[in-house]
């Protein structure tokens, strides 16, 4: 729950503005962008995700730093398991 997971935005949805498809270590899931409405990310940008919601934007360098930190804290597997655990939305992810 307290994991901060860096994820790359790979797709934005035209119909549901507040959702995006992101990728973490090859796993693709949807996250909610509703907490970044003041400064929405574009495709290719990185966000920091907590419990399925993007909380802040970050540079690629910062994202890779954060991934490395999770690895050295022994939390990388838990982070990937969390992202894999986000429910798959068949309609939009496909």
């Amino acid at each position: 729950m307290c994991l901060a997971i860096p994820a790359k935005v790979v797709q934005l949805f035209a119909i549901e503005e507040s959702r995006a498809l992101v990728e973490v270590a090859g796993v693709r899931r949807q996250v909610d962008l509703g907490l970044l409405t003041d400064d929405l990310p574009s495709v290719g940008e990185w966000v920091l995700v907590h419990v399925g919601f993007a909380m802040s934007k970050m540079s690629e360098e910062q994202a890779l730093d954060q991934l490395r930190l999770l690895r050295s804290l022994g939390e990388e597997e838990a982070a990937v398991a969390e992202v894999e655990g986000y429910a798959v939305d068949e309609a939009a992810t496909g």
């Binding site: 509703g34 930190l69 022994g74 986000y86 429910a87 939305d89």
Partner: protein, 383 residues
């Protein structure tokens, strides 16, 4: 320096450690509290206390939401599952946390419908897919997770989903810091401010700590270098205070934390939640205006309004000295129960409950180290 070689940028780390040793007055004992459980975990994991001079003590604070949740709230939640319509959805972190008699995991093994979810959005999705069930989301966390719960409630209302409610256990970090500062046996000199909570609330809400309480505070990242740099910044402030300078809030974690926080997230919290008059914190007792309940406007999605909640109170055993450890009066090993009756496998007190709790961290890294250091010369020998 023993482990510096294992870090990235070992030269910079060595330089900061040398700076810390130069800044620390050998005649003085320093107690710095890291408020966030994530910092506690990083400090133990990276063995950072081994790099610090002996007169700098890191006191591990209140910032683990799982640890400070009173056991009675778990019992209250488990009771809800006696209604066959109810599905109890919780983060995995909660599953092993014991109530008075059962943990959610043990209760699930006895047949209750308890499911692990990773996002409140998924609990809402579960409600949409199971219209004949009622999904109770067990919400927990500081300002880092409260906005996500809030937004999920906004979405529930937008979609008109009726079979979903939130059992809010959200707490806020500032009243806990105030409670620590107000306690008569408090011995903290300065604070390492939380990283991810601050991405939401920003740095301004900490100003009273510097201005009124005259305690320096530095919002800190989670890398070894971040934590060490922040310790050096605190020492510099304390030195400046001797020359008549004012304590201040500094932001070491600027790459992630904006000074004003995340306004959209703060709006979501304000829209959905209001402060409870008081809330119990395990190990600390009742703290006024320290937790969030759901606003009247969202009453239809508030578990506490929709169901009869007994409000179970479970007191920790008197011998557990969690409060003293939290305030820095005792270190974990000085508690009478530490490693005897209270272990991560069988936690008695709050701080042993989660891996981010200070006693569990101390046990897993420091205590095991002393257990095994007798057998050979390697202090890094940890099972």
């Amino acid at each position: 320096m023993k482990f510096v070689d294992e870090f990235r940028e070992p030269e910079i780390i060595s330089r900061v450690v040398a700076e810390i040793r130069r800044l620390a007055d050998p005649k003085r004992h320093y107690r710095f509290m890291e408020v966030c459980g994530g910092h506690t975990h990083a400090i133990y994991r990276f063995g950072l206390t081994d790099l610090l001079p002996e007169n700098i003590e890191l006191v591990h604070g209140t910032g683990c939401p799982v640890c400070v949740l009173p056991m009675g709230r778990i019992d209250d939640a488990l009771e809800l599952t006696s209604d066959p319509k109810v599905v109890f959805a919780a983060f995995g972190d909660m599953m092993r946390v014991p109530g008075a008699a059962w943990s959610p995991l043990a209760w699930k093994a006895r047949g209750a419908d308890i499911r692990i979810i990773y996002s409140p959005a998924d609990a809402l999705k579960m409600a949409e897919k199971n219209p004949d069930r009622h999904i109770v989301f067990f919400a927990i966390g500081f300002e880092t997770t409260a906005p996500s719960t809030a937004l999920t409630l906004v979405r529930a209302r937008e979609k008109g989903i009726q079979n979903f409610s939130v059992f809010s256990n959200h707490v806020t970090i500032l009243p806990a810091i105030r409670a620590i500062l107000d306690s008569p046996d408090m011995r903290i000199d300065a604070f390492l401010g939380p990283g991810h909570v601050s991405t939401v609330i920003g740095c301004k809400p900490y100003e009273w700590i510097a201005q009124r309480e005259k305690k320096p505070i530095v919002v800190t990242g989670f890398e070894p270098l971040d934590i060490l740099q922040s310790i050096a910044m605190l020492l510099r402030q304390l030195q400046g205070q001797l020359q008549g300078e004012d304590a201040k809030v500094e932001n070491q974690y600027t790459r992630v934390v904006p000074w004003d926080g995340n306004r959209a997230a703060l709006r979501a919290i304000a829209q959905v939640f209001e402060l409870r008059p008081y809330f119990e914190w395990r190990g600390m007792g009742f703290i006024s205006q320290s937790a969030l309940r759901i606003e009247e406007e969202f009453a239809a999605w508030d578990t506490e309004r929709r169901f009869a909640i007994r409000g179970v109170r479970v007191t920790d055993p008197k011998a557990a000295q969690c409060g003293e450890v939290l305030k820095g009066v005792l270190n974990p090993a000085q508690c009478k129960l530490f490693a005897n009756e209270c272990t991560p496998e069988q936690p008695v007190g709050a701080l042993m409950v989660s891996s981010e709790g200070s006693c569990a961290g101390y046990y897993n890294y420091e205590h095991r180290k002393t257990l095994y250091s007798d057998c050979c010369s390697s202090v890094r020998c940890v099972p």
